[in-house]
């Protein structure tokens, strides 16, 4: 269920708001909008509430109703998971995979996306299509392919870290979009030309002129990648890896309550991740601009009265 989080968050992050919804002014329209929001909220919230009650209340499922709403809440199921050494191994593995995937994604994607924007702008639509493929092709199909070549590449596929390149591919639909949107917002050619004419080589240009201006895009693609890795089950399961999602599945046998409690916790963690993300990627310097009132005047009127120089 954590795998549901990325696409939702993705659409919020990358696509700019269209501004259609807020335009209606009449009260009936407003009421309609409110109803839709409430309905959607309930639709998403009810399963979570049910899951929370199931996992955190030590009450038999059949007795879970209004009268038992405040009975027997405890987090013992989740703490049981914490006391299991397999949990910590799985967590460590998942975090390592997440970090590795983020590093590889950025290392490959940033130079590629910049190069495509600068040199092959006409190929952009095609590349975009390619990056969506992992979203269209189910992970089970990909892993079936991996299984076919496994006997020929055991030296690679036997390592638990061999999941990293596949996770890079799985996360592409989200990461590429995020980086692409960041690049579109820049006047890339001019920035690169300006940097190079000032004596900076490609490396310096990337580090000092481009990455700081792609900060938002980079952070969001990193967080999206982490969300994908922390929620991926199919590949890890088929390739017999012990990651957090596969641990949850195994743990569900002896401890169904604890397993769902943990799943809930992971969902909460991912949500927190995105909350942090939206704070971290807030455009810089805006607050300063608002405080310095002269600056806003400078931005509004084209040429402010110039102060004489001492």
């Amino acid at each position: 269920m954590t795998a549901v989080a990325p696409p939702v968050a993705d659409s919020e992050l990358v696509t700019p708001p269209t501004g259609r919804a807020g335009r209606r002014r009449n009260p009936i329209g407003r009421l309609g909008q409110a109803l839709v929001v409430v309905a959607a909220f309930l639709f998403f919230l009810m399963p979570l509430v049910a899951m929370a009650r199931f996992s955190l209340q030590s009450v038999p499922t059949i007795r879970l109703n209004w009268s038992t709403l405040f009975e027997g809440w405890s987090i013992s199921g989740v703490t049981k998971a914490f006391s299991s050494p397999q949990f910590w191994d799985a967590l460590r593995m998942s975090v390592q995979l997440a970090v590795g995937t983020v590093a590889l994604t950025l290392g490959l994607l940033l130079p590629t996306a910049i190069w495509v924007h600068l040199r092959l702008p006409r190929a952009r639509a095609f590349i975009e299509f390619l990056t969506v493929l992992p979203y269209v092709i189910p992970a089970i199909a990909l892993v079936a392919g991996i299984k076919v070549v496994q006997p020929h590449a055991r030296w690679f596929l036997n390592s638990p870290y061999s999941l990293i390149p596949f996770y890079v591919i799985l996360a592409l639909p989200f990461t590429y979009r995020s980086i692409d949107a960041g690049l579109r917002a820049l006047d890339l050619r001019t920035l690169v030309d300006a940097s190079r004419s000032l004596g900076a080589g490609w490396g310096t240009t990337l580090v000092r002129a481009l990455i700081p201006n792609l900060r938002t895009a980079i952070i969001s693609s990193a967080f999206l990648t982490m969300a994908v890795v922390l929620g991926e089950y199919t590949m890890a399961q088929v390739l017999l890896r012990d990651t957090l999602p596969t641990f949850l599945q195994v743990f569900r046998g002896p401890e169904p309550r604890g397993s769902y409690g943990l799943a809930l916790l992971m969902l909460l963690a991912t949500t927190m991740l995105f909350a942090v993300l939206s704070v971290a990627t807030r455009p810089r310097g805006r607050n300063k601009a608002d405080k310095a009132s002269t600056a806003t005047i400078a931005a509004a009127t084209d040429e402010p009265p110039r102060k004489p120089n001492p």
């Binding site: 001019t190 300006a194 190079r196 004419s197 000032l198 201006n213 310097g285 300063k288 084209d302 120089n309």
Partner: protein, 361 residues
């Protein structure tokens, strides 16, 4: 001393020829404008100098050394771009420092240089601001300071004023010229605005379809255009049908005008006479009769458009304020032509390039 030399520089993009063998010599400390309609190759010439494009053939050298194969970041050029090119993540100071950091300048030298540059463009008080807090004109001044901070051998200006509004444009134009003269820096200025080019250049190069049509002082280019293209592109031109009446005379309708016609045309040839609006005058007697179709008040002068009766042709001329008060649309007037500065062109010669140029401008 020569600072920048283009020798037979040629560049094509696919099937489009951007530069058709450009030869250009720029003296040290000189400001040369490349003027032309869009697509004439002027920006390509500039980008080749900056190292952003590689010429297909030909060489570029700066102060005697060949830089054709040098990558952009190893050339010592300062460039100001058409669009706002400041690094949005850096303050004004950070932007001006950028080129100095890549040159690993000592901290104190850097601080001093940045201070000097910001003084030069009169933005010392804005050092801590971010680009988005500055107006367009201020941003371009920072870009100029940033380009000059590295003490470049050549300053390249790629239509730096075209994104600004009219008033700021004039101020900044004069400021660029002031700074350029003060620092005596060799400058290549690319523009499609003839007023800009004529206003601040030592020499103007008019380009068309990848070729340098004429290179000369602003007065030369305006007063003695070497081709009909230059004549029409720089300033406005009136066209009158004429016949060659002799080696030193031209007949327009019933007026015989003294003018050195040149060896290309023989007596009796039908030609087109190109004359500037300021070479046409309103007179009380003689001249060509016509009626005023419109007047455009421009403050110091008024542009009057007149339809000539017998030639059935529109011409325009400038009148000064007091004279203009008497001229209103519909008035009957008489116009004389001073052909001494005019240009003669075969009537059969097509002028498609000029039409395109008019559209582009």
């Amino acid at each position: 001393m020569t600072a920048l030399v283009y020798t037979g520089v040629r560049k094509t993009f696919g099937s489009t020829v951007a530069l058709e063998g450009l030869d250009l010599v720029i003296e040290s400390g000189e400001l040369i404008s490349l003027l032309g309609p869009s697509g004439c190759g002027k920006t390509t010439a500039l980008r080749i100098c900056a190292g952003f494009e590689r010429p297909d053939a030909g060489r570029v050298s700066v102060s005697g050394s060949d830089i054709t194969d040098l990558p952009a970041h190893k050339r010592n050029m300062g460039m100001v771009f058409q669009s706002y090119s400041l690094f949005p993540n850096l303050t004004v100071q950070g932007n001006v420092e950028y080129g100095l950091r890549t040159r690993r300048l000592a901290k104190d030298d850097m601080r001093k240089r940045v201070g000097d540059m910001l003084d030069l463009v009169e933005l010392s008080t804005q050092a801590k601001r971010y680009p988005h807090q500055l107006s367009g004109g201020q941003q371009q001044r920072v870009a100029l300071a940033r380009a000059l901070a590295v003490q470049p051998e050549v300053l390249l200006l790629d239509e730096p004023l075209s994104a600004l509004d009219a008033k700021v444009r004039t101020t900044l134009r004069d400021e660029i010229r002031r700074i350029q003269t003060e620092l005596r820096i060799t400058t290549l200025f690319v523009t499609h605005d003839q007023e800009e080019a004529l206003g601040i250049s030592d020499r103007v190069g008019v380009m068309s379809e990848g070729r340098l049509e004429q290179l000369g002082s602003p007065t030369d280019v305006y007063r003695r255009p070497s081709s009909a293209f230059v004549a029409r592109f720089v300033g406005s031109m009136n066209e009158l049908p004429a016949t060659v009446a002799g080696p030193d005379a031209l007949r327009v309708d019933d007026l015989v005008l003294p003018m050195s016609v040149g060896p290309a045309h023989r007596q009796g040839d039908v030609v087109r006479l190109l004359v500037r609006p300021e070479d046409l005058h309103l007179v009380d007697d003689g001249g060509l009769p016509g009626s005023v179709t419109s007047t455009t008040f421009q403050g110091a002068s008024t542009t009057v458009t007149i339809r000539l009766d017998r030639l059935d042709r529109l011409v325009s001329l400038h009148t000064s304020g007091s004279e203009a008060a008497h001229v209103t649309p519909g008035d009957r007037v008489r116009v004389t032509v001073d052909a001494a500065h005019g240009l003669c062109e075969s009537a059969g010669a097509p002028s498609p390039a000029v039409r395109d140029a008019d559209d582009a401008a």
